[in-house]
């Protein structure tokens, strides 16, 4: 004879709710851990200062080494979008607005979001695996034992380089995206460069420009912080490095989309 409590515990509904509850707890725990490391990182900036040499090295890694892949992804997205949009708009008599539409799309969304995804794949995964490897080989413990704060030492240059370099990347990528939009519209839809560029300025406001840069800086800092946090908290051996890297990429993608939504609601709603 089993009691009601035992019966309920065996039910599928109970198992579903306990699984959901543990997933929610794990989710909140992860966010809490990232925020905690973020606060620690900020406090260390004031305590330790910033090493210019290390920051420059990380800026080079974040900005210069990632530029080819970022430009490729943003550029190809622009080509795909403009090849489909321009043709239809020309047919419908909206040729004068192709440049405007592409500019709004690229400056407000495509430039920052696609760059964010590219940077996550290339730099975020590299940061997470680097720190995770350091963690599982006790290099991070060695930093702490030597009397240096490991969060400050590792996070400050990496996260700051994300905040500083991402706007630069997005600016260049958006510029290239708008240019490729013009080229594609011309090649596929016969739209003149003059018609395209004369409407570019109709869709480009200073607000779009600044919001895009602010969004880029937020994306850059978030990608670097999440990637460093997952790497820093890695456990186990090679498997732990793999798990940390995957989690860093997935969480960075989710964070980019959430931030994008927040920016859209705050500035364009």
């Amino acid at each position: 004879m089993i009691t009601l409590a035992q019966y309920l515990k065996r039910s599928a509904t109970y198992k579903l709710f306990t699984t959901l509850f543990s997933e929610v707890v794990m989710f909140l725990d992860t966010i809490g851990g990232i925020i905690q490391l973020g606060i620690h990182f900020i406090s260390r900036i004031f305590k330790d200062g910033i090493s210019g040499k290390e920051l420059a090295a990380q800026c080079e890694r974040f900005g210069i080494s990632s530029l080819p892949i970022t430009l490729s992804i943003v550029g190809m997205t622009s080509i795909i979008v403009s090849s489909q949009v321009a043709n239809e708009m020309v047919k419908q008599g909206g040729a004068d607005f192709v440049g405007m539409l592409m500019t709004i799309l690229i400056v407000r969304e495509v430039g920052a979001v696609m760059s964010g995804f590219a940077i996550t794949s290339m730099i975020g995964s590299s940061l997470a695996s680097e720190l995770a490897t350091m963690k599982v080989t006790e290099q991070i413990d060695a930093i702490d034992v030597l009397g240096v704060d490991s969060v400050g030492h590792l996070f400050i240059p990496r996260v700051l380089s994300g905040i500083l370099m991402m706007p630069v990347i997005v600016l260049i990528a958006s510029f290239v995206g708008v240019l490729l939009g013009a080229l594609t519209s011309n090649l596929f839809s016969g739209l003149s460069y003059r018609a395209y560029f004369s409407s570019v300025w109709l869709g480009l406001y200073m607000k779009d420009f600044w919001v895009s840069l602010l969004k880029a800086a937020t994306f850059g800092g978030t990608i670097a912080l999440i990637s460093c946090a997952f790497g820093y908290n890695a456990k186990g051996g090679a498997k732990g490095v793999g798990i940390a890297t995957t989690q860093a990429v997935v969480w960075s993608f989710i964070a980019i989309v959430i931030w994008d939504m927040v920016f859209a609601i705050l500035f364009f709603f």
């Binding site: 305590k47 330790d48 350091m134 080989t137 006790e138 290099q139 413990d141 060695a142 930093i143 702490d144 034992v145 030597l146 009397g147 240096v148 030492h153």
Partner: protein, 239 residues
């Protein structure tokens, strides 16, 4: 007295891994902590070095740094030997503006000479053998002239000759620095060749305390099982 541990207790969740242990190490003395895998040896070192917190007890140390040599060296693979050894002097808040580049070069050269590896400042860890990496990690540990040095299985993964060399350097560093040293090991040669005293841990508690000679006498059922590496005895290996 350089380091004294009193009634140390550490739990992971509800499991007690260090159960009320006390010991001390004097300056110029080497204490070996031995025991089977999972007995809590490395946990004790990590607690003393401040890497993990403890639940209750006391750890008293003389003024000065505590250095640690890690099981697999834990050298920073993106830095060369010079930057590895001088890391604390270049990055630690209270030290980083104290030394000029010339001073750093001199200090690193001295420490490398002490571990018998002069002239390898520009090499990266990946270019060194396991034994050399271990000796570089010794040099990195002593760069701030610590008064306590912790060694976590210093001869793990090394061939017998390299192990002997490492054991000699542990003794040499103790003599040169007059530091209190704690060596976590389960290798008999490391115990007999380096330690002045030995404590043996099992299930988080101390089951033997004495000299290496007393350990080898096998009068204690725990030490007898350890020395003979027998599966029969009071200690059960956890699968």
């Amino acid at each position: 007295m350089s380091i004294e541990v009193k009634n140390l207790i550490k739990k992971f969740d509800d499991k007690v891994v260090i159960n009320d242990i006390s010991f001390h190490v004097n300056n110029g003395e080497i204490l070996a902590i031995v025991g089977f895998s999972g007995s809590g040896k490395s946990t004790v070192l990590k607690i003393i070095s401040g890497l993990i917190p403890y639940d209750s007890g006391e750890i008293l140390t003389s003024d000065g740094d505590i250095a640690m040599v890690f099981q697999y060296s834990a050298l920073f693979d993106s830095l060369n030997v010079f930057d590895n050894i001088s890391f604390a002097l270049q990055e630690r808040k209270d030290l980083k503006h104290k030394y000029s580049m010339k001073d750093l070069q001199k200090i690193v050269a001295q420490k490398l000479e002490l571990v018998g590896l002069s002239g390898i400042e520009n090499k990266f860890p990946s270019e060194l053998s396991g034994g050399m990496q271990k000796r570089v990690s010794f040099a990195r540990a002593i760069v701030t002239n610590p008064n306590t040095i912790l060694y976590d299985e210093p001869t793990a993964g090394l061939d017998p000759m390299s192990s002997t060399l490492i054991e000699d350097y542990i003794v040499r560093l103790k003599n040169e620095t007059n530091s209190a040293s704690i060596v976590v090991t389960h290798q008999m040669s490391t115990i007999t060749r380096t330690a002045d005293r030995v404590i043996m841990l099992y299930d988080g508690g101390i089951v033997f305390e004495g000299t290496p000679k007393e350990l080898l006498k096998e009068t204690n059922p725990y030490t007898k099982q350890f020395v003979t590496a027998s599966l029969d005895g009071p200690m059960q290996l956890k699968a």
